[in-house]
Symmetry: none
Subunit: 156 residues, 2 copies
Amino acid sequence: MMENKSISDLIEAYLKEILGDSAQIEIRRSEIANHFDVVPSQINYVIKTRFTIQNGYLVKSKRGGGGYIRIERVNLLDNIDVLNSLIQTIGDSIRERDAFAIVQTLYDEKVITQREGDLMLVALAKQTLDVGNTDVEARLRARVLISLLNRLRYES
Amino acid sequence: MMENKSISDLIEAYLKEILGDSAQIEIRRSEIANHFDVVPSQINYVIKTRFTIQNGYLVKSKRGGGGYIRIERVNLLDNIDVLNSLIQTIGDSIRERDAFAIVQTLYDEKVITQREGDLMLVALAKQTLDVGNTDVEARLRARVLISLLNRLRYES
DNA sequence: AAAATAATGGTCAGTATTAGTCAGAACAAG
DNA sequence: CTTGTTCTGACTAATACTGACCATTATTTT
């Protein structure tokens, strides 16, 4: 077993080094690329493979003058099991009443507050998502609900 | 790491600084431009991108001798007129970035908590609402956002 | 008054400066 | 050799900045 780390590994370690105890860092893609003498897009590769939400990182960026890439460490919450099992029952399509039941479950399990639940209900309501096609609407609802559930897995 | 802000960011911060707790300020475009050593039209750029109604600001101006640009801070939900004009600018279609700006403003005004804002953001995100058609997506986003706003409006 | 001039701000298209995407080449492990 | 990972670069997208030209209002001159 060789100790030969890839450059991507070194970049990962470097970023985590300067992250240190900070909640977040802002870097310039070209600077990091320059520092390691690689093409800029490799920084995207490193971020995409090593700073995912599953690993507890949120990444945001801005282009143009004064642009940056911000890497933020987030706390993964411990309701993951509840959320995972709920996401599984959704599939790629869900009716309004079933979505509402899931929100109710979240509230019962104290994963969300009442107000958060109310906002979720509005976003999932037939009235809001109706696009004239019941199938499309149910798929859309599933996407919205899954996005919401995934967001509940962590906090910034 | 380093804070590499663009000049537009600095101008934005400066204007918000002198705005302070005041309801409004009146500036001279050429003065600000001079202060930061940029062309006057960049002030228009900063205002157009950072002091929109979505961001919670109303801007009026007058040309000619004694001309000025007035920047006024407004509350989105408290003021019926402001909310109506906001909903009007949303219309039946809105881009992700404009929707995000509105949610940010609601958070800044303490109308919603950070977590509520985060949930709203994912419900409005391109990733969530993308249905393969940009127009349909933007219309959906408008409906979701207006539903959420109305929910917040009639709650308090 | 009317006309000219001065003193403002507005618009828009073009350039500059960042980051993102994606397909494919290069490389490493089995 | 096969498969999965790393690395590259051409192309794309988003944001910032600039300057020439336009529009509006106030002031001065005739």
